[in-house]
Amino acid sequence: MKIAIIKYNSGNVQSVLYALERLEVEAELTDDPEKIHAADKVIFPGQGEASTAMSYLKARKLDQLIKELKQPFLGVCLGLQLLCEHSEENDTECLGVFPVKVKRFIPENSQEFKVPHVGWNELENLAQNPLLTDLPANPFVYYVHSFYAELSEFTIATTHYIHDFTAILHRDNFWAIQAHPEKSSVVGEKLLANFLRI
């Protein structure tokens, strides 16, 4: 199985590679359109700022490429946000794979709710989906983010912080997760393993 991890100006891609290594899967970090097209599965990790990431993808025409892919595709963290329609982070037009808006957390009480949302929180309202098979009830995953995707018909799991937000999205061959499965212990490993089996 050939796994391509999309290389762009995003932080901490290395940890996704290591997580796949632990699952005994080899992946290649690449921005070569041919290699990405030829891969069996594509992972779009991410950490950083939306507008800088989008400009980088556009400059290399990776934005068009991503939308046209037909193989199972997994966006992670900023990767999820970039797959949405628009992000409030520097008013950025994103890829639009999911017709969903990305908003900033606004705590009604800053003593109780810090932004960014950092730490372990639960996945709730899990749909029947191949990505979510054999998970424990309300499993914990690790989050670090200030922006979130609003709830939509493509939401297949939610998390509660200040209010419910989209934890995982699915549409056709595209899946996307806001948390970091590569840092989410056994639950994260299970999510990645499930994706590799899709």
Partner: protein
Amino acid sequence: MLTKRIIPCLDIKDGRTVKGVNFVQLRDAGDPVELAKIYSDEGADELVFLDITATVDKRKTLAELVTKVAKAINIPFTVGGGISTVEDVKFLLNAGADKISINSAAVHNPKIVDEMAAEFGSQCIVVAIDTRNVDGLDFVHTHGGRKATLLRTQAWAKEVANRGAGEILLTSMDHDGTKAGFANEILAEISSALSIPVIASGGAGTMAHFKDVFTFGKADAALAASIFHFKEIPIPELKEYLIREDISIRK
């Protein structure tokens, strides 16, 4: 619900864990990777590695260790100790660290916090603050708490948060090593005043101290070293206790 984090801290010298540890299942008590893996399996929510090496070759040794840890464990970890430049941060993040922590470097050159946050994002920049109470006022200290500065702790915490720190690791030098409980008063004061998470450090001695720091101290996470290393408080037991006490904790 977002949970409170339990964070063991490992002191590293020349790529080895220094403070003694007491784990029967450890084959090599000085191997940070093996210890990290045990903590991760036991349910630690994150790990902190504090490098106390003083040699010039330290960066390379540390980066090698960071890569080994990143390959072995699947929870987030922070690396700190002697980090002072954007280059240092890049080196360690590329090696596989999730976050880095800076301390004295920020005091000497506060702008470095802005630069690091702009370059790598706030989410991976932890500013560690060592504080000591002097005649009723809290002052930032450097050099492992030995050297006083004129910075007031509360004001400094606010400043680094404004400059882009993603989290604050607050160590009370008055409480560190006493096992008499965390510095809940100043922790609560700082945590309430800031919109970023605060990690409490210094003073953990009993399981009740953790409950106190998460309630009275309003801390988002609690860090400790020796009580975990010597198994005075096993992490699974601590987490069960905190859950019984209605603290939000990852099972």
